[in-house]
Amino acid sequence: MGVPCSELKDFVAELQEDSSMEYVPCTCEKQALGLAVGAYLAGKKPLVYMQNSGFGDCLDMIASLLIPHCIPVHFLVSLRSKPWQHEWMFKITQEMFLLLDYREVTFC
């Protein structure tokens, strides 16, 4: 589950066409992350996708829920740097992952 980004549109299109799973049109990134926590508690291995702008919205949930409970969630985060409204979040995204002690991060 997740929130679409133009960089992830091919990935999201595949999810929408995949008849083996229900496509959940999440309204925001924190909601997708909440669903992922519920899925993990139910025994699944969730992945959430989002743009890095939305990752910023998830910081409190990661710090106050995921990390203290040791709840593993995989993130697929697209990294936008342009146009201008993305520039600042682009500058701080990699550091946010490191501040959260996320070691297994691949930037591509």
């Binding site: 909601q31 909440g34 519920g38 899925a39 139910a42």
Partner: protein, 153 residues
């Protein structure tokens, strides 16, 4: 009726195999103090996300009944979740809001819950509560593991 009495009445309807998600603040502390059981999950941080967590459980465990108990401030913080709940139509998820028109755990500051109309949530108007006699929730990892183990039984 105060929040603890209202929660007591609702907990009487929770069956042995039912899941309870308790939201940030006094709701989780009341349920932890008075009604702790392995199939309770306490959302101590991440205010406003209890319903999303409940939906994630209900989607993946369709045979289980999931009760989500949340205060009015948390419900207001996660209003978008009610739209997704109506979209997904999860018949075994029961969402209850304990509404005292206040942020109880931060000092009783007023909310705008007078305007809260979010079916199918059931909203109970309750008296303002204090944290007198309420335990703090410690050891989140242990409680999570207890919850996940209880789900396997």
């Amino acid at each position: 009726m105060n929040k603890a009495q209202s929660i007591q009445n609702l907990m009487n309807h929770v069956g042995d195999r039912d899941i309870v998600i308790a939201s940030t603040g006094h709701v989780s502390r009341i349920i932890f103090t008075n009604h702790d059981r392995p199939l309770n999950f306490y959302v101590c941080g991440a205010m406003g996300s209890s319903l999303a967590i409940g939906m994630g459980l209900a989607m993946n465990l369709p045979d289980r009944t999931v009760f989500v108990f949340e205060g009015d401030a948390g419900a207001l913080m996660g209003l978008n979740n009610i739209v997704l709940l109506n979209y997904l139509k999860l018949p075994k998820l029961q969402y209850f809001v304990l509404d005292d028109n206040a942020c109880s755990s931060t000092g009783g500051q007023k909310t705008c819950s007078e305007l809260l109309y979010i079916p199918p949530a059931v909203i109970f108007k309750v008296d303002k509560s204090t944290d007198e006699g309420l335990s703090r929730i410690e050891d989140p990892i242990k409680l999570k593991e207890r919850f996940m183990n209880a789900l396997k039984e």
